[in-house]
């Protein structure tokens, strides 16, 4: 037997439960909610729950893609590994949330259907996550904002009426906690470093800040199916202000990025940055529809 060698044992793996053989480690992308009870609890609107999971899942998916773009480009190998690991966490969260969305709306769409076959205007992520990476300071500033806000949101969602969303949130909040630790450490290091590093970090924050307000602007679906993000404004901004004060940085005072008649990322109205990101992300799946490996 080849039990102790993962590659060999995979070649012998039973066709269950994936229903197909796999030839290499890590390529067996089973249902991320395999065997979990997926009935939508009574009292919850399946369409709203699905739309909400899609919003959170798209946030995680798009930021995962941005983080993974740092591979081969980060200042040090350790940071490259770190950013890729954070992206992997977000990708895992996105897979569960998109899968949940496809179940809850009754369409039976899979995570892949939703990730690879929707158009730009069908994505529901906030614009913060789609902005290009900028320099390292910009990416760190964005990560600090996102991890702080999303950690606080997941903390609240751990008590959600949908047991699947609640479980995903409870799992993810611990991951977001160390994403925030990582971003905080770099914010302190750069902000409290040389005048040059401090100026670069401040510039990164200044450029990110117009996208922060959208995180706290409630979409009707969020009010019906989730947590009112406006309730997070004070604790999240307070926490961010504390980090910035500690780092000798200032909270930017800049106007929020304009919306289009009140519509923004949650309505599918995005910046020009999302299209190219999706093109790169979706190209293989669309060039070889239905391909498995």
């Amino acid at each position: 037997m080849t039990d102790d060698h993962v590659y060999l044992s995979l070649a012998e793996a039973s066709p269950e439960p994936e229903g197909e053989g796999r030839w290499a480690y890590g390529t067996g992308f089973a249902d991320p909610l395999l065997g979990v009870d997926t009935a939508v609890p009574a009292g919850l609107d399946g369409a709203d729950l699905a739309a909400y999971c899609l919003m959170l899942g798209d946030d995680a998916l798009v930021l995962a893609q941005r983080l993974i773009e740092w591979c081969t480009r980060a200042p040090e190998l350790e940071e490259e590994v770190a950013l890729a690991n954070l992206g992997l966490d977000l990708l895992g969260q996105a897979r569960q949330l998109l899968t949940r969305a496809g179940q809850a709306d009754g369409t039976g769409r899979t995570e892949d259907d939703l990730a690879y076959w929707r158009e730009e205007h069908e994505f529901r992520n906030v614009r913060l996550v789609e902005a290009p990476n900028g320099d390292f300071a910009y990416s760190i500033a964005r990560l600090l904002v996102f991890a702080t806000a999303r950690g606080a949101l997941y903390e609240a969602l751990a008590g959600h009426a949908d047991p699947v969303l609640a479980a995903v949130a409870a799992r993810s909040v611990k991951e977001l906690a160390y994403h925030r630790e990582y971003a905080t450490a770099w914010t302190l290091r750069l902000g409290d470093g040389t005048p040059y590093s401090s100026a670069r970090m401040q510039a990164g924050l200044d450029a990110v800040w117009p996208l922060v307000e959208e995180l706290f602007t409630a979409h009707p679906v969020e009010l019906r199916a989730g947590v009112d993000p406006a309730l997070l404004r004070e604790p999240v901004l307070g926490s961010l202000a504390a980090v910035l004060a500690e780092a000798g940085l200032t909270v930017p005072e800049v106007p929020a990025l304009a919306t289009v008649g009140g519509r923004a990322g949650r309505d599918g109205v995005h910046t020009e940055a999302l299209g190219p990101l999706l093109a790169e992300f979706q190209v293989v799946a669309r060039a070889h529809p239905g391909a498995t490996w």
Binding site: D3, D4, V6, S9, L10, E12, A13, S14, E16, P17, E18, R22, Y25, G26, G28, F29, A30, P32, L33, L34, G35, V36, E78, E79, V81, A82, N85, L88, D89, L90, L91, G92, R95, Q96, T148, G151, E155, A166, A167, V168, A170, R171, V173, K174, A177, E181, Y182, T184, A185, L188, R189, G193, P235, V236, G238, S239, A242, V243, A245, E246
Partner: protein
């Protein structure tokens, strides 16, 4: 009628090695949550609790459990995921911790209680650029003493990183090189005694 006694099918599933840390079994890792055998017909259902959201090993774990149970003579096997309660490194058994150390990987300390707090900012014991940990504590007394100097949240600070002893030589003079290592669950450390690098499973 079903039985969840930790015999038979449980023993088979419990012996499956983790794909990433093959010196540990799924039971050692705390990933195997429950194994149920239907009294009538003998159908087996095994529940796994995935570790990190992005862990790519879950599919392999499920396939391995399925295959081992079938090989042990259980024809009707289902492997399911159980997401609640979430996995924590606190679920790694004492035996699992011993095997990790034996393999040169420092086992995790206790996970932080509760969830994320938005509290003090200077709780980082050894992030990039921070002074390195010496035995997990040295050099950080100032931070721990003033852990709440951000001062505006009454939430508890994250616990300090526990003392990490080198799994290779037992020396307590160690430092974190990078919070992120070859897999999401491990950090990269170095012993200042024997000068060897080693991996450490992070608390979560």
């Amino acid at each position: 009628m079903v039985t969840t006694a930790r015999t038979g099918a449980w023993e088979v599933a419990a012996a499956v090695p983790d794909p990433e840390l093959p010196m540990l079994t799924l039971a050692d890792l705390g990933v195997l949550a429950e194994v149920e055998v239907a009294e009538e017909g003998g159908a087996v259902t095994a529940w796994l609790t995935p570790t990190y959201s992005g862990c790519p090993a879950v599919a392999e774990m499920a396939a391995d459990v399925d295959r081992r149970l079938r090989a042990a003579g259980y024809p009707d096997v289902r492997v399911r995921l159980r997401l609640d309660p979430p996995w924590s490194t606190d679920l790694i058994t004492a035996e699992g911790r011993r095997k990790l150390a034996e393999a040169g990987i420092a086992p995790p300390g206790p996970a932080a209680p509760g969830l994320l707090g938005l509290g003090p900012t200077r709780f980082l014991d050894s992030g990039p650029g921070a002074p390195v940990a010496s035995g997990g504590h040295g050099g950080h007394g100032d931070r721990e003493d003033h852990g709440d100097r951000g001062g505006h949240e009454a939430r508890p600070a994250a616990p300090p990183v526990p003392a990490v002893t080198c799994p290779l030589c037992g020396c307590a003079d160690t430092e974190e090189l990078s919070r992120f290592g070859s897999t999401a669950c491990k950090a990269l450390w170095r012993c200042r005694g024997c000068r060897e690098p080693f991996e450490r499973v992070k608390e979560i």
